[in-house]
């Protein structure tokens, strides 16, 4: 696992949080603090002061963008150049209680808009910034303001936001249009049946609000990645959902069908939620072919290659973020290991797939 928040030792004084970038030498033109590694290869220098990371094995990369919280002696690694996933966790609050949520809601926010703006502003050309929660659009007005300012400063930035799309209305169309080249909205849908969807997300009326949200996203020409997590609750009706997607979502960028992450609420009654596609792949196969045959760009997230029928493997992508990804010991014998997403760090073989065969 890669640590995304690190404590440090050293006194930076009584100053407010600030943004910093890791450089080889102290001569950048960026108007942010420069952090450099000292010749001892152990301590770092910033603002003419020395600090040491509490975890000795963590090495910061050149080009990393950090947010310092001096009074907590905490560094948040905002952007790592080598990572496939740089994400701001904006809030842990949510208005849905999805039964598979990997990050169950808490009453905590991290709304450091000014710091985020500064940090996002110096990300390299064409970088991808993720924003997730909780539900980011609970702070819709602030979020829109942040996004519009960010792309003004960094027009080549792609921002990928995970949202339940419950809070968009026609008054947002103008703002959504400003954002429609830079922002990709990742929006989950779990069923084409309103009751089934509402039960899964734990909120009455969620489906109807979602459909209204989609209408706003479609009307504003927004980019959308539709997301569906596989569950025993929605697996029997998966074919109907895929038909619904094929009919009404030709405007989306892609449909990501996602395997369940064994984290958070998903672990409660896991055996009643997890769909083992090594035993029952039929509904998944039907859904993928139904959607892709209608021109929907369909992808499978979090499915190790050997857990789906061979004709579905070309739809699998390496989707698991580097910091929480692992392979199993017998993956070493698999000839497709390098193109496989592997497993979540917290995958438990005892309650996982019946057979992990690898590909030989």
């Amino acid at each position: 696992m890669i640590e995304l928040s690190i404590r440090f030792t050293g006194n930076l004084g009584d100053i407010p949080p600030f943004v910093s970038i890791v450089e080889e030498v102290e001569n950048s033109s960026n108007d942010v603090a420069i952090l450099t590694l000292n010749p001892d290869k152990r301590s770092y220098r910033i603002n003419d002061k020395e600090i040491v990371l509490d975890k000795a094995d963590v090495k910061l990369e050149v080009g990393e963008i950090l947010i310092f919280f001096p009074n907590k002696n905490l560094i948040q690694r905002f952007y790592r150049p080598s990572s496939n996933s740089n994400t701001i966790l904006l809030t842990e609050q949510c208005d849905q209680v999805c039964l598979m949520c990997s990050q169950p809601p808490k009453n905590k926010d991290y709304l450091h808009w000014d710091l985020y703006l500064k940090a996002a502003g110096i990300m390299p050309m064409g970088s991808i910034l993720g924003i997730s929660g909780g539900e980011p659009t609970l702070f819709k007005e602030e979020l829109f303001e942040f996004l519009i300012k960010t792309i003004e400063i960094n027009p080549s930035l792609l921002i990928h936001i995970l949202t339940n799309a419950q809070h968009f209305d026609d008054k947002d169309l103008e703002k959504l249009e400003i954002l429609n080249e830079n922002v990709l909205w990742g929006v989950p849908i779990y069923s084409d049946n309103a009751n089934e969807h509402d039960q899964i997300v734990g909120k009455d009326g969620a489906f109807d609000a979602l459909i209204e949200g989609f209408n706003c996203l479609l009307k504003s020409g927004s980019r959308v990645e539709l997301r569906t997590v596989l569950l025993q609750n929605n697996y029997p009706s998966f074919a109907k959902l895929s038909k619904f997607v094929a009919r009404h979502f030709v405007w989306i960028e892609k449909w990501a069908i996602m395997q369940l992450e064994p984290m958070g609420y998903a672990r409660i009654e896991w055996p009643l939620k997890f769909v083992d596609t090594t035993i029952a792949p039929e509904n998944l196969e039907n859904a993928v072919f139904t959607a892709s045959s209608c021109g929907i760009h369909t992808e499978l997230y979090n499915f190790p290659l050997c857990t789906v029928p061979f004709q579905l493997r070309k739809f699998c992508v390496k989707s698991i973020s580097d910091w929480k990804q692992k392979y199993l010991p017998n993956c070493d014998q698999c000839k497709s290991k390098n193109s496989c997403c592997g497993f979540f760090e917290w995958y438990d073989r005892q309650v996982g797939y019946k057979s992990i065969t690898g590909i030989t």
Binding site: L218, K243, F249, V250, F289, S293, G295, Q311
Partner: protein, 472 residues
């Protein structure tokens, strides 16, 4: 309360089943009783919700389902604005005399039928200025392999200005020189050839003698072995309908992934020789439908499975709103826009058929030249009839969202574009294919559904991807 969308077209598909299609191309089947209740607004709230989900009913203008429908119907009418397919004829000369040669080729030894330095240079400049980055260039003829020096030069120069360009050479495979192999070795270079079936059929239509026939089949074998089936597309022309299954069998035997069954085309020299049969749409339709059944059954028992390209094109038009690129079946079919033919003398034509018609002196359909550019006046004149949304026959037809327009074919057959569409060969042929598809979908014909699944998903799969369309 009127829930029946005025954009819905209803037609009888079988005795018990009706097809309902909206202008975005969403379709369902309804039995007679339900249709009656639907028209009389006697369906339950649940049924109405099902129909809204299917795209057939709009409960409230401006809601998600209506926005989605409007988006899809405009997507169907979207066309490419930039030139991205060029057919060029670096030489009109050919070393064969096929019985239905479509372009009235020139003799191998004739002179004055090749591109010279000037034309080649103007062509490169034209591509640089007007073509899209992913332009595809098709070398036609004549037999372009008679001028591989020119082909090579064009490929090399185009790659400098359009690095993503791809190429295809339409060759009779009579010459397999080291230059040809050098071109085939490239990842961006493909070959297309005619293959009418087993050697005796191919010989009587094309190669004419054993020696030519052997050369062709040897070279074909060489390409298939060395490069695999992705390198080459093989197109049969069916002239003797009674032997169509032999051609199909031969494609299975060669393990080719795709077969495009087309009747002999009523143009070029073929106009004189095959006049009777090519006019007979009905005859072809029966032959074609039987051939599709033959393929569907053969796929069900054979390890190797084949896709029929014509069926694939029609299915794509039904199921993929973005598939508006096939020039023989698209709407609107704007000529001289994304697709252009440049003849051996540098003249522009809107399609290969238009070039042939002009060549045999029926009508001059050239639309400019490398020297003078596009003749906008002529293009605009031709394009007044480029859309089926203004055609009174098509406006009555359930297949309108999926179908296309072919002005050049009408000119070719009837000498005018001013003809009732229902009476045209184009309409008869395509109507028949759509009838065939929807009849089989309505009847849930298992063999057909497997073939259609294979066509659309390029995978053989036991799952049906056509569920959820029956309201009965």
């Amino acid at each position: 309360m009127s829930q029946t969308d005025t954009n819905i077209k209803i037609s009888k598909i079988t005795e018990h089943s009706n097809l309902l299609v909206n202008n975005a191309g969403d379709y369902i089947f309804m039995n007679n009783d339900n249709l009656d209740n639907f028209i009389k607004n006697k369906l339950s709230e649940n049924d109405i919700n099902w129909l809204e989900n299917a795209g057939i009913v709009i409960k409230e203008e401006g809601n998600f389902f209506s926005t989605s429908r409007d988006f899809k119907s405009s997507l169907r009418l979207h066309t490419r604005k930039k030139l991205n397919y060029l057919i060029i004829i670096p030489t009109l000369r050919c070393n064969l005399t096929c019985s239905y040669c479509q372009v009235s080729r020139a003799d191998e030894k004739a002179s004055g039928y090749d591109w010279d330095e000037d034309i080649t240079r103007s062509f490169i400049k034209y591509v640089e200025k007007y073509a899209s980055d992913d332009v595809k260039i098709e070398f036609q003829g004549g037999e372009p392999s008679l001028r591989l020096d020119l082909v090579l030069k064009i490929v090399n120069e185009i790659k400098i200005i359009k690095p993503n360009a791809t190429f295809v050479i339409c060759s009779n495979l009579s010459i397999m020189s080291s230059e040809f192999i050098e071109l085939l070795d490239r990842d961006d270079f493909f070959v297309s050839s005619s293959l009418d079936g087993p050697p005796d059929i191919h010989e009587s239509n094309r190669t004419q003698n054993t020696q030519n026939t052997d050369t062709f089949f040897n070279n074909l074998e060489f390409i298939l072995l060395k490069y695999g089936t992705n390198k080459i597309s093989l197109l049969p022309t069916i002239s003797d309908y009674s032997r169509i299954n032999e051609t199909i069998d031969y494609f299975y035997a060669k393990k080719l992934p795709e077969i495009f069954l087309r009747p002999v085309n009523y143009q070029g020299f073929a106009r004189k020789k095959f006049n009777d049969i090519s006019q007979d749409a009905q005859n072809w339709n029966e032959t074609y439908n039987k051939a599709l059944e033959y393929i569907a059954h053969k796929n069900s028992t054979n390890k190797h499975q084949i896709v029929e390209t014509g069926l694939l094109i029609h299915l794509n038009r039904i199921f993929k709103q973005r598939s508006n690129n096939y020039v023989d079946l698209r709407n609107p079919n704007l000529l001289g826009q994304d697709y252009l033919v440049i003849d051996f003398d540098g003249k522009f034509y809107p399609s290969d058929e238009a070039r042939m018609l002009s060549r045999i002196g029926l009508i001059d359909l050239s639309i400019g030249s490398l020297n003078n550019g596009i003749d906008e006046r002529k293009i605009n004149q031709l394009n007044t009839k480029s859309s089926n949304t203004e055609d009174p026959c098509c406006n009555e037809c359930s297949y309108q969202p999926f179908c296309g327009v072919d002005i050049i074919d009408n000119i070719s057959r009837y000498g005018t574009t001013d003809i009732k569409t229902l009476d045209t060969y184009f309409c008869n042929i395509n109507m028949s294919v759509f009838d065939y598809i929807f009849k089989n979908l309505s009847n849930r014909n298992e063999y057909f559904i497997n073939l259609a699944t294979l066509c659309l998903s390029k995978q053989s799969s036991s799952t049906s991807i056509f569920g959820g369309h029956h309201f009965d």
